[in-house]
């Protein structure tokens, strides 16, 4: 117990880094995922193929391999950034594919009549997507989107192996330093992660009820 209380400052630093990584990556991945979903349903065959290839390749690659490419291959392209930015890039690129699939299922869940009505009053593809379909699609898929955000929160722990001093890295360092209080340190770390993931689950339910589209 003392080990946890003495190192609260370190825990807090790791927690803040994890939170920052989660929030920044979620926003960027959601934006990229929406763009990919729009590409996958667009009338232009090249964009459809590009989007489908991206999603299929990224879904079948482990996040650790994506991290490897971000951390070891990007510097060879003369892109030298901090470890945190590399982690953001890797996490964003990986989860954008899952956000894309969630948004695409939302687009298909919107009633066919909505898209037909939008076409019949003359809206173009981008207009009908932007004004009619996507607003309804997002409101339908709030729980899956938040589930992907929860998965993202847990996946940020992998950044610990690639130089980012976030919660898991702090835990390993403290556990190696205080060999007699390993259980207490891991319980403290688990508590921090549960503080991030459990409320998101409750939030999903409440948010869904508030923004649900009446049918």
């Amino acid at each position: 117990m003392d080990a946890v209380l003495d190192n609260l400052a370190t825990f807090r630093q790791g927690f803040v880094t994890t939170l920052a990584l989660t929030v920044v990556s979620s926003v960027l991945a959601l934006a990229l995922g929406t763009l990919l979903a729009a590409m996958r349903v667009s009338p232009v065959p090249t964009l459809r193929a590009a989007g489908a290839t991206y999603v299929e390749v990224v879904r079948n690659t482990p996040l650790t391999v994506v991290f490897f490419f971000a951390v070891f291959v990007l510097p060879q392209l003369d892109i030298r950034l901090s470890f945190f930015v590399f982690a953001v890039i890797a996490v964003t690129v990986y989860h954008a594919a899952f956000f894309c699939e969630a948004v695409r299922s939302g687009i298909n869940a919107v009633g066919v009549g909505q898209a037909e009505a939008a076409r019949s009053i003359g809206l173009t593809f981008t207009q009908s997507l932007r004004l009619v379909v996507l607003p309804q699609a997002f409101r339908t898929v709030v729980p899956p989107l938040i589930n992907v955000v929860i998965a993202l929160t847990k996946n940020t722990s992998i950044a610990a192996a690639f130089g980012v001093v976030e919660l898991t890295a702090v835990t390993t360092r403290l556990a190696n330093a205080n060999g007699d209080a390993v259980l207490a340190i891991f319980c403290g770390s688990a508590l921090c992660y549960l503080v991030l993931t459990l409320p998101s689950g409750f939030l999903a339910g409440r948010l869904e009820r508030r923004v649900a589209v009446a049918r």
């Binding site: 879904r59 690659t61 482990p62 650790t64 291959v73 899952f98 379909v133 992907v148 549960l194």
Partner: protein
Amino acid sequence: MTEAVLYDAAGPRGRRRILVGSVAGGVLVVLVVGLAVARLAAKGVFEAERWQVLTRQDLLELIAQGLGATLRAAALAMVLAMAVGGLLAVGRLSRRRWLAAAAGAWVELFRGLPLLLLILFLFLGLPAAGVTISTFWALVGGLTLYNSAVIGEIFRAGILSLPRGQTEAAYAVGLRRGQTLRLILIPQAVRRMLPALISQLVTLLKDTSLGFVIAYAELLRVGRNAVEFLGGRYSIPVYTAIAVVYIAVNASLSLLARWLDRRTRRRLGRTVETSAADEAA
């Protein structure tokens, strides 16, 4: 499906615009990829000598060993996770409230924690308590704890997806709750759960790559060791080969899962839904 009606069949002007868009999009993709390739080529990444390292017999054997270690850990973890997950599902469906609450707490706890944290906890924590543990068992233990929660939920969804009439008919004939589960519900639920279980196996295979953090000699770690032995210039060819192996194995399993899903839907009408979020974890 709404996807199909977002745009009409194009007239002549529309077809021209789509053609222009396709060409422009294609050119853009080629430009971006070409720029990256040119940058890499300038650094000599595409030299034949670097990529010939992939034809070395010892490297190929090493990669095969890594793949074998990955598949072994994944298979064992999947079997154990299904066993524990089955118990969790039955526990959550039990009428004894303490059992349902305990199983529910286990599921919520292990679904809310990162897998890497669980693996590190087993790897660092058990030795501190006096129990020596190998990297293999730390990895398999962590994978089992996490996936038992997810697979328990898949089992529960499978059993709950059956029509209520099955349970009612079983009770009407006089079967007890345990017999109903064993003789009527589980055999039917297994067919529906198969696609979701195979999707979870794909996720589990991807998660075995976390073994590289604790130095278990799985595919990714083997690749890193090879790069450290051969030299940093060979990093891109080796990691690309590793990525291709992962993608090949996972893509074939995903195709199997999707084919099974279509077949099961055609014959039985319903399957357990796989969510995009569970694949991400």
